[in-house]
Amino acid sequence: MISQLLTYCTELLVLTLARGSLYALIAVGFALVFGAGRVLNLFHGGFFLLGSYLAFFYSGMALPLQDAPRMAMVTLLAAATVGGIGFVYFWAFLRRYVGRQIQLMVVGVVANLVTAQGFSAWYGTQAAYVAPIVPGTIQVGSAQVLRQQILIVCLAIVLFPALGWLLRHTRMGRAIQAVAQDARGARLVGIRPEAVLGTTVALAAMLAGLAGALAAPVLVVSPSLWTFALLKSFTIVILGGIGSLRGTLIASYALGAVEVVGISLVGEAWAELIAVVIAVVALALRPRGVVNEQA
């Protein structure tokens, strides 16, 4: 009896970690950009989509590598390319509309639609298959977990402390935090908010691209995938507040937990919708963000 309960709890925990780590990877960049410039970058979903499709595209290329190193290479290439796309996207489009919310959001959402329609014109709406870096599954209780998902969890455990260190201890990281707290004040001490925002968008794009490439073997890659990434980012930012890495991480795993429990109670179809409503209600009750720690 106790061992059954223990297995069940382990199962929930592993599933939560698997979901939460992916969500955190998706949302952390979105939250950073939102914090750094109060910029709602709706094209973030497009970054994720690009990551998935580029992984698919690169995995068809001739590389002098095989199996795991090959797919790892493909993943990194995809992330780097999306980072570059984010950089160009910022300096070519986004920069013009900072401070003009309507245009900013409209450009972002239209960019998503164009990207999605572009991919469906290029490859069609059928699912694109991408090989995982580590194939196979492991059994946790009654649930099957892909090894790729475990890889994402391990990566998150390494990546987020490193990101936290970068934000606290490097010049760029401190500049990002300074702009997040007060753009005008940052300008007074010699930081160019625009340059910082540009770097943040590129970093966010890279992380989202990485998430997209890593998740490609786990999810069904189709042109509408950007809605998935954007929806998770929204829910996490609504739940976690802005401007703090810790808030984003806590919110990501909380969302993972809510969904895992929700799926076991009401099924896959409505768990997502219920998670969004819970996030919105939570923010209404705690207007400064549920886990906000900004002083």
Binding site: F34, L113, T227, L231, L273, V280, L283
Partner: protein, 574 residues
């Protein structure tokens, strides 16, 4: 007939003409579909125009109502008209639900929440495909009518009728107040506007319109497809409304018909027609940020001085207001007991107590940082106090928020210059009257109001959005709003700051006129000469305490007062 209504009349004639010229043709099908899109755009403008929110989730209302209408018809064999009605009601309920979920979310958060709800619903449609039919949706819905022509007539009529309803709403008291909250929410609240309730009404109407449109789409096409609830529809609604002019119903209708005919031209003739269509729409939004037909509802048709009969009524109403203010059930005035406010380690107010009988006017002076503005903010409810009690008319105000206190007659003007930048002076007065439930319409033309208007720059200035006038005009507008809808207790924070001679005279005259009407008043002001014309007593504050309370002629001889200002020996000032 107002401009939007003339446009709607023109639209009705044009739609009828299309029906007569090409009955039951490809053209009527097309225009009928454009009419349904027009209803979606109306629904967006009704809420997002005045509030300046960007909803990315209107296809949620469209989709939920469309699916509900379709399900009710197919599964339960409802009459299509009943299903249409149910769709509208469901949209209204959903709108009210979203409004109550988002009662604290503004701006970016509102956009995020609406989009998140829409995306989540859209994704659920596919996951619950076993009974919602996935991509294909619900098919075999019985249409509202048998013939193409009848369906066209229904869509066209629906658009015309709902346009009139939307236009009426925007020009109503609620529409005006909603527009004011979109311009400056804190000013609207301090005038007594009940913002959550206004937003609830606005979004419920918006949801009802979108829901009717969604159900209409399903009950004319005979199918509820997933596309109806998609982000694409949300974005199109938003782009069409912004391209039209954000807050302008005629603009929304013009852009809908222009772009829907463009889409019909493109459809099937070029590759990527959807991309080109969306790209063109995006281009218009980026190149014309104010839309193709910029404009907004006009509430006022004339400048101040309304026609005579109304003037008589207005003044009668106001004298009654004054009598009410002095009525015996409210004999108690303002009573403060031991008010304390701390900002971190700073004690801004250290136990302030004083009483002010009804109809009296008292000035508050003191060095910078004495706590004068904090005191007014605490009384008006803009800031919470840490200890003590505030009573007005025998009622404890402590737990009420600013808007609720304003509705009880306690109102404050602001130290910093704030206004509703896109509204004219006259519209400001209308907002003040509407927010204070003093009726809706032009303010009474009294001489002090005329003097204030003159100081702002005359009748020409009254027609200009206040954001385009100098800051002094916004300051005078706050006093003018108090005249147009007199509160019972007016807290005036530095009314003369940055005003020059004639403007000061106009504000003084207005404040004195308010006193004659029985308004109780606390005035914080550094310009003592002008202050002493207004008040019978002066309260002196220093370091969060009241240190003296004397008539104006004696106050500057009080040694404690002089010490607070750092003047050792008696020395005349002012």
């Amino acid at each position: 007939m107002s401009r939007p209504e003339r446009v709607v009349l023109g639209l009705a004639v044009a739609l009828a003409a299309v029906g007569v010229i090409a009955p039951a043709s490809f053209l009527t099908d097309l225009v009928g579909a454009a009419c349904v899109t027009g209803i979606f755009v109306l629904s967006w403008i009704v809420f997002c125009g005045p509030t300046r929110e960007l909803s990315f989730g209107h296809s949620l209302f469209v989709g939920v109502s469309g699916y509900l209408g379709g399900l009710l018809q197919v599964r339960l064999a409802w009459n299509p008209w009943a299903a249409l009605l149910a769709g509208g009601l469901a949209g209204a309920a959903l709108g009210a639900g979203v409004a109550s979920l988002t009662f604290r979310h503004r701006g970016l958060y509102f956009s995020m929440v609406t989009m998140a709800l829409q995306l989540a619903f859209y994704r659920s449609l596919f996951l619950a495909s076993s009974w919602l039919g996935g991509e294909e949706g619900i098919i075999g819905v019985r249409a509202l009518a048998g013939s193409r022509m009848a369906l066209y007539a229904i869509s066209a009529t629906a658009l015309v009728v709902l346009s009139v309803a939307a236009s009426r709403f925007l020009q109503s008291r609620t529409g005006l107040l909603l527009g004011a909250t979109g311009q400056d929410e804190s000013l609207a609240r301090s005038l007594g506007a009940d913002v959550p309730r206004l937003r609830l009404r606005g979004l419920a109407l918006s949801g009802a319109l979108a829901g009717l449109g969604g159900a209409l789409a399903v009950l004319t096409q005979g199918q509820a497809s997933a596309e109806l609830a998609s982000d694409l529809v949300s974005v199109r609604i938003l782009l069409l409304a912004i391209a039209g002019g954000l807050w302008s119903l005629p603009g929304g209708l013009v852009s809908t018909f222009a772009f829907q005919s463009l889409q019909a031209l493109l459809f099937g003739r070029v590759r990527y027609d959807a991309l080109i269509y969306t790209g063109l729409l995006l281009g218009v939004v980026l190149i014309f940020p104010r839309g193709l037909v910029p404009g907004r509802p006009r509430w006022m048709k004339r400048v101040l001085s309304p026609p005579l009969p109304r003037e008589g009524k207005g003044q009668e109403g106001e004298t009654r207001g004054a009598v009410e203010a002095a009525a015996p059930r409210h004999v108690e005035g303002l009573a403060l007991r031991g008010i304390e406010v701390r900002f971190g380690g700073v004690q801004a107010l250290a136990g302030v107590s004083f009483e002010l009988p009804r109809g009296e006017a008292v000035g508050v002076i003191g060095p910078n940082g004495a706590g004068k503005t904090t005191l007014l903010n605490v009384i008006a409810g803009h800031r919470r106090h840490d200890a003590g009690e505030i009573r007005w008319g025998g009622r404890s105000l402590g737990k009420l928020e600013a808007a609720a206190r304003a509705r009880l007659g306690v109102r404050k003007t602001h130290q910093q210059v704030i206004s509703f930048p896109e509204l004219t002076l006259e519209e400001h007065l209308a907002v003040a009257r509407a927010a204070g439930s003093k009726g809706f319409g032009a303010a009474a033309a009294d001489p002090e109001l005329a003097q204030l208007l003159e100081a702002c720059g005359g009748e020409a200035a009254a027609l200009v959005p206040l954001g385009e006038l100098p800051p002094a005009a916004a300051r005078m507008a706050e006093v003018a709003m108090a005249l147009a809808a007199p509160p019972e207790l007016l807290l005036v924070d530095e009314p003369f700051a940055a005003l020059s001679g004639r403007e000061v005279d106009a504000v003084c005259a207005a404040l004195l006129a308010l006193q004659r009407r029985g308004v109780t008043m606390i005035v914080v002001e550094h310009r003592l000469h002008e202050l002493f014309r207004l008040v019978s007593e002066v309260v002196v504050m220093d370091q969060g305490r009241v240190i003296a309370r004397r008539p104006p002629e004696e106050v500057l001889r009080d040694p404690a007062v002089l010490a607070a200002y750092g003047v050792g020996e008696e020395k005349e000032s002012a």
